[in-house]
């Protein structure tokens, strides 16, 4: 039996502790924001926050989480009441197919929890582990810059200004 705290709620699940968190989120908890992309830690589609850190949930055995708190994109806000990172992504219409976007938002959230005034290079470096095939990168960057401003900061040497 494993006690798992996701988005503030603790659930007890009966599962092989080696199971990567991603499968638990998607198949047991019905949380679909984190996506399966590669299962190899190469694409970031499965990224969630574990105690404020961005983590590939496809490679995190659920038994390793312990008392750490997991936050998925569902925990950032809802369609009716989106959180600020989600608002920023909606404002910029930062998605094409959208498959990579929850992972991007989780990564953005992690960055902004560390600093709301990253440099453009820090922003791009922080996002680097996540892949997007649709080429939505420019909008994703714009959205994170906007979210930084919404949190009272901003990207220091932004390549494009937030308007």
């Amino acid at each position: 039996m494993i006690d798992l705290t996701v988005n503030g709620a603790t659930t007890r699940i009966d599962i092989d502790p080696a199971t990567p968190l991603l499968y638990v989120l998607r198949d047991d908890l019905g949380l679909h924001a984190a996506k399966f992309g590669c299962g190899l830690g190469q694409c970031g589609a499965c990224t969630v926050l574990v105690d404020d850190k961005p983590v590939f949930s496809c490679l995190l055995p659920v038994g390793a989480i312990g008392t750490r708190k997991v936050t998925t994109v569902e925990g950032l806000g809802t369609a009716a009441k989106p959180g600020d990172v989600q608002c920023a992504f909606l404002h910029e219409q930062a998605a094409q197919c959208g498959y990579c976007i929850p992972g991007m938002m989780a990564r953005a959230e992690a960055l902004l929890r560390t600093t709301v005034t990253p440099t453009e290079d820090e922003l791009r470096t922080a996002m680097a582990p996540s892949l997007c095939r649709c080429g939505t990168h420019m909008r994703i960057l714009r959205a994170v810059r906007r979210a930084a401003v919404m949190r009272g900061g901003g990207v220091v040497d932004a390549a494009e200004p937030v308007t």
Partner: protein, 429 residues
């Protein structure tokens, strides 16, 4: 003791000190060399520039003289030493912030003697102890190469040395103690490639800078201890002599492939600081890389793996029983790539137990690669491993490491793993 006796003693002590200071000042003093106009890049022969490019690649110059995401040779990479952090300088030909105003004589003196154009002593993090023996031809070529780089205006961060080490004349003392110029002689009984490899490895490539142990004052240990394994950026650089812990022989071919591609299918991928070495060697003259491989394969000719291929142990059941947590973590986090049947394995990437880290006498490299992962060293296409530093805590990493060593290791049992993980995290930051 009489009063005058005391006075005399004080006086002579002070006098002795003054003499010392003066002598030291004379020893330490180096005049500035006058600035020059930045040479017109067009005056350098393209062939000389090309030779210089190769020299720079072999010397791995860019690793210290480029910051993450910065321009090549513009400096800014932090070199961490026990005495503080030294930032690689800007060696682009920008006259104000780089070396554009340096004459070739000033450049030569810096390379050979570790003295800047303005006469200040350079920290031996800049490996002039090796460059002292670089040939005149190679130095001229390197100068020509650097002077034809795009000039970048950039000032790296200031060094943060613990006092009094920020006082550079002290470095003259260090040089007095440890800086020996022993010319590289030719060994006629060895092949041309071997001699060439030795020249490159001992001078430009400065391999001992990482692969030899260092003394209290960071001096490289020489003689029998040369190439006996050392430390770099929080990573362990394993012995590359008869004590090489590799489980498969480093033949010339394997070593050459490793140095040129960042991957040896009989060993593993180049990780940590070795990654950028292979990045540069991949772009150096192939014959020179082969020469290096020739020389270092020879240096490892008496290593255990050179004589017989050790069987690769797989004590899976035992390891799972001893380290059940490690086994579970491995199953969920590592097996997807490293167990037989994983695509990477099917495609012929080296199996985990072939990697030297598991056979080293300390766990540092195994720990670092789990914490930091691995970026493709040579080109975007290449071995990759995600970093686990954010996903797993110190205990969990140590459990995986313990499991792996129990399962595949051949060296002495590692202890105190959790502490080492914490240390690795800190040192690698």
């Amino acid at each position: 003791m009489t009063r005058s006796g005391i006075t005399r003693r004080v006086i002579s002590a002070v006098a002795a000190l003054c003499v010392c200071v003066v002598v030291f000042a004379i020893i330490a003093y180096r005049p500035a060399i006058a600035t020059v106009m930045r040479p017109d890049p067009r005056v350098f022969e393209p062939a000389l520039v090309a030779q210089g490019a190769n020299v720079a690649r072999l010397g791995n110059c860019v690793s210290c003289h480029q910051s993450a995401g910065g321009r090549p040779y513009a400096g800014g990479y932090p070199v961490k030493t026990p005495f503080g952090t030294i930032y690689g300088s800007n060696i682009t030909p920008d006259p104000a912030t780089g070396i554009g105003a340096w004459s070739s004589a000033a450049f030569r003196r810096a390379m050979r003697e570790g003295v800047g154009r303005d006469g200040s002593h350079l920290y031996p993090a800049f490996p002039y102890t090796h460059y002292a023996n670089v040939t005149d031809g190679d130095l001229s070529a390197l100068y020509a190469f650097l002077m034809t780089r795009p000039a970048v205006r950039s000032v790296p961060p200031a060094n943060t040395m613990i006092p009094p080490l920020g006082f550079r004349p002290l470095l003259a003392g260090w040089k007095l103690l440890f800086f020996r110029q022993e010319p590289i002689t030719t060994y006629p009984r060895q092949s041309t490639a071997w001699n060439r490899g030795r020249y490159i490895g001992e001078t430009l490539a400065h391999c001992t800078a990482c692969h030899s142990p260092r003394g209290l004052l960071q001096q490289e240990k020489r003689g029998a201890q040369a190439y006996d394994g050392g430390w770099s950026g929080g990573w362990y650089a394993p012995p590359i002599n008869a004590h090489s812990p590799a489980v498969r022989a480093w033949t010339v071919e394997r070593l050459e492939a490793y140095l040129r591609t960042g991957l040896s299918t009989a060993h593993a991928a180049a990780a940590g600081p070795m990654g950028s070495v292979t990045y540069n060697l991949a772009r150096a003259a192939p014959a020179d890389v082969r020469a290096l491989a020739t020389y270092y394969a020879w240096r490892m000719r008496d290593a255990p793996a050179a004589r017989f291929a050790r069987p690769l142990p797989d004590r899976r059941a035992l390891a799972s029983q001893r380290h059940p947590d490690g086994a579970r973590l491995y199953e969920g986090a590592c097996a997807v790539c490293h167990e037989p049947g994983a695509a990477m394995m099917v495609a012929g990437r080296p199996a985990l137990p072939l990697g030297t880290p598991l056979h080293e006498d300390n766990p540092r490299d195994t720990i670092q690669i789990i914490l930091k992962g691995l970026l493709p060293p040579v080109s975007p296409r290449g071995p990759y491993m995600p970093a686990f530093a954010d996903a797993l805590d110190d205990r969990q990493v140590s459990e995986i490491v313990a499991y792996l060593q129990m399962r595949h290791g051949t060296g002495p049992a590692w202890t105190d793993l959790e502490r080492d993980v914490a240390k690795a995290r800190k040192e690698g930051e």
